[in-house]
């Protein structure tokens, strides 16, 4: 039975109104076809491409262009973006706010990206803050957080979180196993700060819909840091203890709030951590046997959790 036939049956049975039938039928039959998502994707890619091109151009040609020209040009772009956003923005609300125009979110994102490029250029060329150069990054993160919360923009929030991570000495996209203890400690402090801020703001009902982004980023940073530290010679067991504790918290939170990504984090990362620790002292044959037994056990446990708590598709 096609969806249109189902809709007809529901209308005849009185489950949906004739008006709903018309509207939903038009969507299913594609009499109405929205290209909203496609246009948003083009805008997002366009902004990223412009920012990448600006960065490339400034990096390659700043000697020819001159410092003043570069700073003036970048400042002009930032100023136009800021003017556009403040002139079009709806009044602040602590709840979710619809974008006033179709391009509003992307203009703000472009402004923030260009601002970051400009700050990086100024720091590189003039080194005004000398040894305290990293303050530029912290200031940027603060500006991005303010913009994200003022204008309710998730792209800029993600930019703020990654910029804060940069300040903590973490490069999220490249952070992997074998990192130094100092980086792991930074990642853990970063994770705690991001999660704590997100939860605190949620409790204050300030943009509570942002909390998920905070928690996903925080959980990823903390889990990766702890998992990568499990094999450390001296501190491995501390990391393992931390990993298991975080897993319990993550799973409990995930089940209570029905956010099953956190249940998955709490299952996969500790498994990887424990396995890394165990296989160090096992022969190849025993490692394989361990894989079969532990993998099967984890399948059973996760299937139980899925059947007991996570039936939603």
């Amino acid at each position: 039975m096609t969806m249109v036939e189902r809709l007809g049956r529901w209308r005849d049975e009185g489950v949906i109104t004739p008006a709903q039938f018309e509207r939903l039928g038009a969507i299913v039959r594609k009499d109405r076809f929205s290209v909203s998502l496609e246009l948003n994707a083009l805008l997002y890619l366009g902004v990223l491409s412009i920012a990448a091109g600006l960065l490339w151009t400034v990096r390659t040609h700043f000697a020819d262009l001159g410092d003043s020209a570069v700073v003036l040009a970048l400042s002009a772009i930032v100023a136009v973006c800021v003017w556009y956003c403040f002139s079009r923005a709806r009044p602040y609300s602590s709840g979710e706010v619809e974008s006033p125009t179709a391009i509003f979110d992307y203009v703000l994102y472009l402004g923030c990206l260009v601002f970051a490029i400009e700050l990086a250029f100024v720091e590189m060329r003039f080194a005004l803050l000398k040894d305290a150069w990293d303050s530029y990054v912290l200031v940027s993160a603060a500006v991005f957080f303010a913009a994200a919360y003022r204008f309710d923009n998730r792209f800029v929030l993600s930019l703020a979180l990654s910029t804060l991570a940069a300040w903590f000495g973490i490069r999220l996209s490249r952070f992997g196993f074998g990192s130094a203890d100092s980086l792991r400690a930074s990642a853990l402090v970063y994770g705690a700060l991001v999660a704590g801020t997100g939860i605190a703001l949620q409790r204050l009902t300030i943009k509570p819909h942002f909390v998920e982004t905070h928690l996903h980023v925080a959980a990823t940073a903390a889990f990766v840091a702890l998992t990568s530290g499990v094999t450390s010679a001296n501190t491995g067991f501390f990391y393992l203890f931390g990993l298991l504790t975080l897993a319990v918290i993550s799973i409990a939170y995930g089940i209570r709030r029905r956010e099953f990504a956190f249940v998955a984090y709490g299952a996969v990362y500790p498994y990887v951590g424990i396995s890394l620790k165990l296989v160090q002292s096992l022969s190849v044959t025993t490692t394989m046997a361990y894989g079969v037994v532990s993998g099967t056990a984890m399948v059973i446990v996760v299937v139980y959790v899925a059947r007991r708590f996570g039936r939603d598709a």
Binding site: L37, A63, M124, V137, R154, A264, Y271, M298
Partner: protein
């Protein structure tokens, strides 16, 4: 052939649509709940995150079990490894079927892992057996690709996993690169294979329009079309794909024919997508247009400029805003049914939220450890000194 009843799958897809419509306010919560209850099936499902976790653990079980067999019994002869892989693949597939038939699992992750790894094991086994028979050159890879294509198609037909169909199409297309043909011919054969897949999927899709099967075949059709473009765009694969051993020698006629093709294919595809209101084709052809613009200069042998991405970005923004305004200017805010406004708000927002969260990967500042000083002197150039041609940030 499919392990699931069509009626069950239809109900599942209908329930998913009802959920989206309810979230978007097109249906009341009470209406949504009542309809969803009526669409209940006995198939056991889970949410996407636990599905991924179960896929990972299922993968560990399959790989470790095969590894244990190899290590514990000291299997090292190529032919024995090949047969072991084939047997393990068949066992894995049977286990996946058992999980579906016995426990009624539907997109649960663990049975998917068994099915997916059965394809990999059988394909690798077939390749190794061919190699152990004294056949060198491209033949073992060809056999592995063809076997993977057939096995993936089998998994798609049995379980309905769309990604298995994608794998089947990709493996079938890759087979052409192992036939010992000339550089031109292997791409022509590969393109023909993808064109056949595109045509078949398109024909089947049109007969299943407005059903969930139609969406699946539409996705296969779009992917085959995208693959056809990727095979014919020589600049996409030069020095990138493992098949290109150095700069291949393409004939001038072939080279310029492919240049024409990379402009024609997206144009034809976009026309078809708009006519059929086919979202996947719209996405595929948008990607193709972007790829054509990005590879145009290398195709013509022109140098890329640093401001090319700026112009490209401005073009994308201009097209997006232009199309939006053009559609909105029409009466009722749509032209021929096309509207720039979201119809199912929650679905669009979900994608944009994911995109927004993934934007965390965009990091404008390269982090340095505290205490590390900038690489250049204030007001001066870079490491190479003077004017600072080598400076970087």
């Amino acid at each position: 052939m499919n392990l699931y009843a069509i009626a069950d799958e239809e109900r599942i897809h209908a329930a998913a649509q009802i959920r989206e419509w309810t979230r978007s306010g097109l249906l009341d919560a009470s209406q949504g709940a009542a309809i969803e209850t009526a669409l209940h099936t006995d198939l056991k499902r889970t949410n996407r995150y636990l599905r991924v976790a179960l896929f990972i653990f299922g993968t560990i079980v399959v790989v470790a079990a095969f590894g244990f067999w190899m290590v514990a019994f000291g299997v090292s002869r190529e032919s024995v490894v090949g047969w072991s892989a084939i047997v393990a693949g068949v066992v894995s597939c049977v286990l996946a079927q058992l999980l579906v038939v016995q426990f009624q699992l539907y997109r649960f992750g663990v049975e998917e892992a068994f099915a997916v790894w059965s394809v990999a094991l059988v394909a690798v086994g077939a390749g190794l057996l061919t190699s152990s028979g004294g056949n060198g050159g491209d033949l073992p890879t060809l056999v592995a690709c063809v076997t993977a294509a057939i096995a993936s198609a089998f998994v798609f037909v049995q379980f309905g996993y769309l990604y298995a169909a994608f794998a089947a199409a990709a493996c079938a297309a890759l087979s052409a690169f192992n036939l010992g043909l000339s550089r031109d011919a292997e791409r022509i054969v590969s393109a023909c294979v993808l064109l056949v897949i595109f045509t078949v999927a398109r024909t089947v899709r049109r007969t299943h329009d407005q059903s969930f099967r139609g969406d699946d075949y539409g996705a296969i059709e779009s992917l085959a079309w995208l693959g056809l473009y990727a095979v014919l765009n020589l600049q996409l694969s030069l020095g990138f794909i493992w098949y290109s051993r150095g700069r291949p020698d393409f004939s001038s006629t072939f080279y310029w024919s492919t240049y024409a093709a990379i402009w024609l294919l997206p144009a034809i595809g976009l026309a078809l997508a708009v006519r059929d209101r086919h979202r996947m084709m719209l996405w595929a052809n948008t990607i193709m247009v972007a790829a054509t613009l990005a590879t145009n200069k290398p195709y013509l042998g022109w140098n890329r400029q640093t401001w090319d991405p700026i112009l490209f970005g401005i073009l994308l923004v201009a097209v997006a805003t232009g199309v939006r305004r053009w559609l909105l200017r029409a009466s009722d805010g749509h032209r021929g049914g096309f509207t720039p406004l979201p119809l199912v708000v929650s679905a669009d927002r979900q994608v944009l939220d994911v995109l927004g969260t993934l934007a965390v990967a965009a990091q404008p500042f390269a982090p340095r450890m505290p205490g590390e000083t900038p690489a250049v002197e204030p007001g001066r150039g870079g490491r190479s000194g003077g004017g600072g041609g080598g400076a970087d940030f």
